[in-house]
């Protein structure tokens, strides 16, 4: 919380932020490793890509690195191979693979060109259980006065163990929600030969289940330096109200993970960069160093971090009736099944508490 408040942007007077075109040097194509393995059953995903130019909208396309040999080695000497699946550059552990708390793991990579890479050893620490989750509406001002941002802040409650130093990393799992449509408001298309835009109520369907597919996944981190051994309530996720998600019930999962000190440092630099606002009090951009080194060429820079974590997972159902604020709901005047990716049946794990 302390750090968070310091990162809050501080701009004064008539300041303004706008996209700006600058000449950027052509980017290097550096190997990037992203992924984490946990003590939950697999498969776990490691993604290999190549970095590119950080320029304007159309510059720089991040490409997957395919046909690499990827393996995990633990401190007991066990080796697990990962296999590349349909999505190129994505390497999965076998379904039965689970991280053992107390062991350390190394990620080994051999590329098609013969170059080899290895991560530094990452130890799996145990994680305290999430005791409960809570949520509340938050309203934030935006530069458009009539359209304040509204969202739901999720808090995790847990007891930090006093006998160890803990580094926490929270992510939210994929979201599902009840998509509410209004098929009775359906109108004929404007091109209709006899009755353009004429009312033509449909009987079905007003309730579907939709999956979230936003690109940016938010995360939260904390170190127990300031709360070792104490019970905590920490904001771990924030989901913005887009007028659709919170119309009835929204389900997400909170993953509370314990990571290593070095992984925490990496995540802190990532968070610092994500929160940059260009203001007077921003720290200058830091070089985010990862934990992968080149074995063939020790001077080669490899980006990204291989994270080993243990997980405590808890689902959360956010009910519209318990939210104090919302934005103007979006109306879908059609059969909800016309929205891509929706189903009539809830996903198998859909199990909202009844009360």
């Amino acid at each position: 919380m302390l750090k968070r408040s310091l990162y809050i942007l501080l701009l004064f007077t008539l300041s303004c932020i706008d996209p700006y075109k600058v000449e950027i040097p052509e980017g290097e194509q550096l190997l990037t490793v992203e992924g984490f393995i946990t003590n939950e059953p697999g498969p776990h995903l490691i993604r290999l890509t190549r970095s590119d130019t950080y320029g304007s909208v159309f510059e720089g396309l991040i490409r997957p690195v395919t046909e690499a040999k990827v393996a995990l080695r633990d401190s007991e000497g066990n080796v697990t191979f990962l296999s590349e699946e349909v999505e190129r550059g994505s390497y999965f552990t076998p379904a039965g693979f689970q991280v053992q708390v107390g062991r350390s793991y190394i990620l080994q990579i051999e590329l098609q060109n013969g170059k080899t890479y290895s991560s530094l050893p990452e130890i799996a620490n145990s994680v305290p259980q999430i005791d409960s989750l809570s949520y509340e509406s938050v309203r934030t001002f935006t530069s458009d006065r009539l359209n304040d941002k509204v969202g739901t802040q999720i808090y995790a409650y847990f007891k930090d163990p006093s006998d160890q130093t803990n580094f926490y990393y929270w992510r939210s799992g994929p979201g599902d929600y009840v998509l509410v449509a209004n098929p009775e408001l359906y109108t004929l298309p404007p091109t209709h030969p006899t009755n353009p835009r004429g009312p033509a109520p449909k009987d079905c369907c007003d309730i579907c289940f939709a999956k979230e597919n936003s690109r940016i996944q938010s995360f939260a981190i904390a170190a127990d330096e300031s709360f070792n051994g104490l019970s905590q309530k920490i904001p771990v996720a924030y989901i913005q109200d887009d007028g659709l998600r919170f119309k009835r019930t929204y389900r997400t999962e909170i993953l509370q993970m314990a990571v290593s000190r070095e992984a925490y440092r990496f995540l802190r630099l990532v968070q610092q960069q994500i929160n940059i606002t260009g203001s007077v009090f921003d720290q200058p951009p830091a070089n985010i160093r990862g934990n992968i080194i080149g074995l063939t060429d020790p001077d080669e820079v490899v980006l990204g971090y291989f994270i080993v974590a243990s997980v405590s997972r808890m689902p959360l159902y956010i009910e519209n009736s318990r939210l104090s604020e919302s934005v103007t709901p979006r109306i879908i005047p059609d059969d909800c099944l016309t929205v891509p990716g929706t189903t009539l049946d809830p996903p198998s794990y859909w199990n909202p508490p009844r009360d």
Binding site: Y54, S279, P285
Partner: protein
């Protein structure tokens, strides 16, 4: 022929003035012929305030004296008739003929000029001071001069005005720190009434934390710093407060767009004890709430400052001044976190004159800077408090060996206590879920002894040389870590700890700082000066922003943080044209800085007990050339300054993981090679003036990413190197129109100031940053602090 005619007219005018005034006879005639001592004092006719820094010229001898802090001057003359010419900026010049027959006193009052069209003098002091004095790189500005500059948000501003001088720059449009000749923001010692001020800003640098009405004048030393000052590497900014009138009560108030102020001054005991109090406060919240920036709309800001000055004159040779100063700021960020800071100082100063030759100056001071971050978000509420206290004493003796032969010597010492941070949990929803934390306090003592000798050989050649011995001690109680030798200092390389007791010496440093300068005058209008300077600095501002930010940490030197040592060589040529109407100078310098600090990537500074793990040692160098032209007199006055300068840093470390930019020199955050300022003031009529400031500089260095990569769905930027690219160039024009209401006698003078900042609305980028925000692709963004023209209006009255 015309010329002769003009001369003739001028001549007769002079004649007329000379004869129209009755000659006063000074002194009791006891037949004394030589060494007649005449003392004098200058005051404002209306307010009765002493006029400090006015020049008193004896025409016949071409000799000039400057009035001291209580407006007094002293002359030693032979028995004869003389004409005194007394000049002071913003006042009508006095011609005072008299006959000196014996020891005596002259008391003179001056009248403030109402924009007299033909005789505006910009800098009050001796018009040839820049040529004749051995002082170099020192600029004194009187507050009356400052009032002619375009105001910032309705008020003249000390720090902002200093930044218009050659060799001085600021990191950006809302930053309080000054960078003097390539030095960091912490390398400037800012003294208010002799007491150090750690954070001279209101609202994170939007305003200077000194009420200009409470200031008499300020001097910035940027090249050859007198030996009586030490402890900071780049410059000394010495601000003297204005004391109240010994004669009558008066005051003034001002109402501006964002702040207002009032002051009152007058005699408590007539001619012996005066008081002056001033208060300035903001009402900026309405402005914040009307802004479009979402975080500002939900923010609150307050600032105020107050001054109190008691001036007691025991007799004409002895006086005592007590000054109190306090500035306060709070800023509530997006409503649940409040940052606040307070500067507070008490100063007691005695100035005395013993006989004709000896002057004594004693200053005792206590200063406190407190800073707090207060969180009441409801979750993990806390209060983080930190602060610095200085308690010190300064003694200075000046002894005049002869007319142009002066020695000064003295000593100073101060105790510094730093409380780097105490985290105090506050009750949240029920029980507290934050642990109290406390960073170890630091204790240090900075002391110095010094001597300086100023000597002039005739009119042409003068030297000034001196030596300062700085001595620094760092005390316990403190627990200090020991790190494995030959490994980088980090949390992982700790091999032990050592605990020092209360008052136990942990580390000491000392050093000799020679200062020397010479002046050679080719004639009364041209001179050349040069000098060398060495400064030591035992306190470091640990900050990784480009400016003074609220989250910065001050750190005393210890075994890991060696004192910064700054060596500077400078050379300058000075020439005045057209009877001192134009003043020009060219100065060049080279500076070497040892033990500067740079930061590890993502350094964590707050609540950090072991700051040594977050920094990397480095060195710095800076060089530059400064060009300056000033027009002192006439309907149009102003100056142009251009600086070409470079400032570099280099990290020196044997450890590969700490190397920055391959161990090469790289530009410092505030390296701006070209810097141009044009300031002009034009008198439109007797009661109206127009002024404009234009500034241009190269954009400051920034880091652009060399690649983009993905993590957790976010596109991140890869920054392997620091400061290799630059922001676009900065330029801005500010104008102001000043209008004075006349009438209702001398006691009521209304002053309207209408100003527009950033006239053509340039969006000067404060920064360019790379962000991946929901709803748009990852791309560069520009932050402009002042993106539109900003008009302000203020009204002030003096009574």
């Amino acid at each position: 022929m015309r010329k002769y005619l003009l001369l003739l007219v001028l001549f007769s005018v002079c004649h007329l003035t000379a004869y129209s005034q009755q000659k006063t006879v000074i002194g009791r005639d006891i037949g004394q012929l030589k060494d007649i001592k005449i003392g004098g004092r200058l005051t404002d006719q209306i307010t009765g305030e002493a006029l400090v820094g006015a020049t008193v010229t004896v025409r016949e001898l071409n000799k000039t004296e400057v009035t001291n802090t209580n407006g007094s001057f002293n002359l030693v003359l032979d028995r004869a008739e003389y004409v005194l010419e007394i000049r002071y900026v913003g006042y009508e010049t006095i011609i005072y003929p008299f006959v000196a027959v014996g020891d005596g006193r002259i008391t003179l009052t001056m009248i403030q000029e109402d924009f007299d069209l033909d005789d505006v003098v910009v800098f009050g002091s001796d018009p040839e001071k820049n040529i004749r004095s051995t002082e170099m790189g020192a600029v004194s500005i009187n507050m009356n001069t400052l009032k002619e500059l375009p105001p910032f948000l309705g008020e003249v501003d000390i720090i902002r005005s200093i930044a218009t001088l050659p060799g001085v720059s600021q990191a950006g449009e809302a930053s309080s720190g000054l960078n003097v000749r390539g030095g960091g923001a912490d390398q400037n010692l800012i003294l208010f009434a002799g007491a150090p001020v750690y954070n001279p800003s209101h609202l994170f640098g939007l305003f200077t934390a000194f009420n200009p009405d409470m200031v008499n004048e300020f001097t910035l030393y940027k090249a050859i710093i007198p030996t009586k000052f030490g402890g900071r590497g780049s410059s000394i900014l010495d601000i003297t407060p204005r004391s109240g009138s010994l004669d009558r009560w008066g005051g003034d108030f001002m109402v501006g767009t964002v702040s207002g102020k009032a002051s009152l001054n007058g005699p408590i005991i007539k001619n012996h004890l005066s008081a002056k109090v001033g208060f300035r406060g903001s009402y900026i919240n309405w402005l914040l709430n009307s802004l479009n920036n979402p975080d500002l709309r939900s923010s609150n800001a307050n600032f105020n400052d107050m001054n109190g000055i008691l001036y007691g004159e025991i007799n004409e040779n002895h006086n005592v001044t007590y000054s109190f100063y306090r500035s306060y700021d709070d800023f509530a960020l997006a409503s649940d976190t409040t940052i606040s800071w307070t500067n507070m100082s008490h100063t007691l100063r005695y100035q005395g004159k013993f006989g004709e030759r000896t002057n004594v100056d004693v200053i005792g001071f206590y200063t406190e800077y407190d800073f707090s971050i207060f969180n009441k978000s409801g979750i993990n509420n806390f209060d983080l408090q930190s602060g610095i206290q200085d308690l010190g004493l300064r003694l200075n003796f000046t002894y005049n060996l002869g007319e142009r032969n002066k020695i000064s010597f003295g000593a100073d010492s101060k105790k510094i206590t730093i409380r780097p941070g105490d985290l105090i949990p506050l009750p949240s929803d029920g029980e507290s879920s934050v642990l109290p934390q406390s960073v170890q306090n630091e204790f240090g003592r900075e002391s110095g002894v010094y001597a300086q000798h100023e000597l002039e050989f005739g009119e042409k050649f003068g030297i000034s040389y001196g030596l300062r011995y700085d001595f620094y001690q760092y005390f316990g109680p403190r627990t200090v870590r020991e790190y494995a030798p030959n490994l980088p200092i980090s949390n992982g390389t700790v091999i032990g700890e050592r605990t020092y007791g209360d008052g136990e010496l942990i580390q000491s440093y000392d050093g000799l700082g020679p200062r020397a300068s010479f002046r050679y005058s080719f004639d009364s209008k041209t001179s050349i000066k040069g000098g060398y300077n060495r400064m030591y600095q035992f306190i470091h501002l640990i900050s990784n922003t480009a400016t003074i930010a609220p989250t910065d940490v001050w750190k005393l030197s210890d075994q890991f943080f060696k004192p910064q040592i700054v060596d500077q060589l400078s050379l300058g040529v000075y020439k005045n044209f057209k009877g001192n109407i134009f003043e020009t100078s060219v100065e060049v310098y080279y500076k070497d800085i040892q033990n500067v600090i740079d930061y590890k990537d993502g350094a964590r500074l707050l609540l950090q007990n072991n700051l040594e793990t977050e920094i990397i040692p480095g060195q710095g160098k800076a060089y530059g050339a400064e060009f300056y032209v000033k027009k002192n007199l006439g309907r149009t006055t102003g100056w142009a300054s251009y600086t070409y300068s470079r400032t570099f840093r280099r990290v020196i470390t044997p450890f590969e993981e700490e190397i920055v930019n391959d161990g090469e020199w790289y530009p410092a955050n505030f390296d701006k090679p070209h810097d141009l300022t044009l300031i002009g003031n034009y008198k439109l009529a007797t009661n109206a003036s127009f002024s404009a400031t234009f500034s241009y500089s190269t954009g400051r260095p920034v880091s652009f990413p060399e690649a983009k990569f993905d993590f957790a769905g976010n596109s991140l930027a890869y920054f392997p190197n620091r400061n290799l690219q630059r922001l676009p160039d900065f330029h801005r024009l500010d104008i102001s129109f000043n209008f004075k209401l006349k009438g209702k006698g001398l006691f009521y003078q209304g002053d309207w100031t209408f100003a527009i900042m950033n006239v053509y609305g340039r969006k000067n980028p404060y920064s360019i940053f790379f962000a991946d925000q929901p709803g748009s692709p990852p791309q560069p963004y520009r932050l402009a602090i002042l993106g539109v023209p900003l008009p302000t209006l203020s009204y002030s009255v003096k009574f």
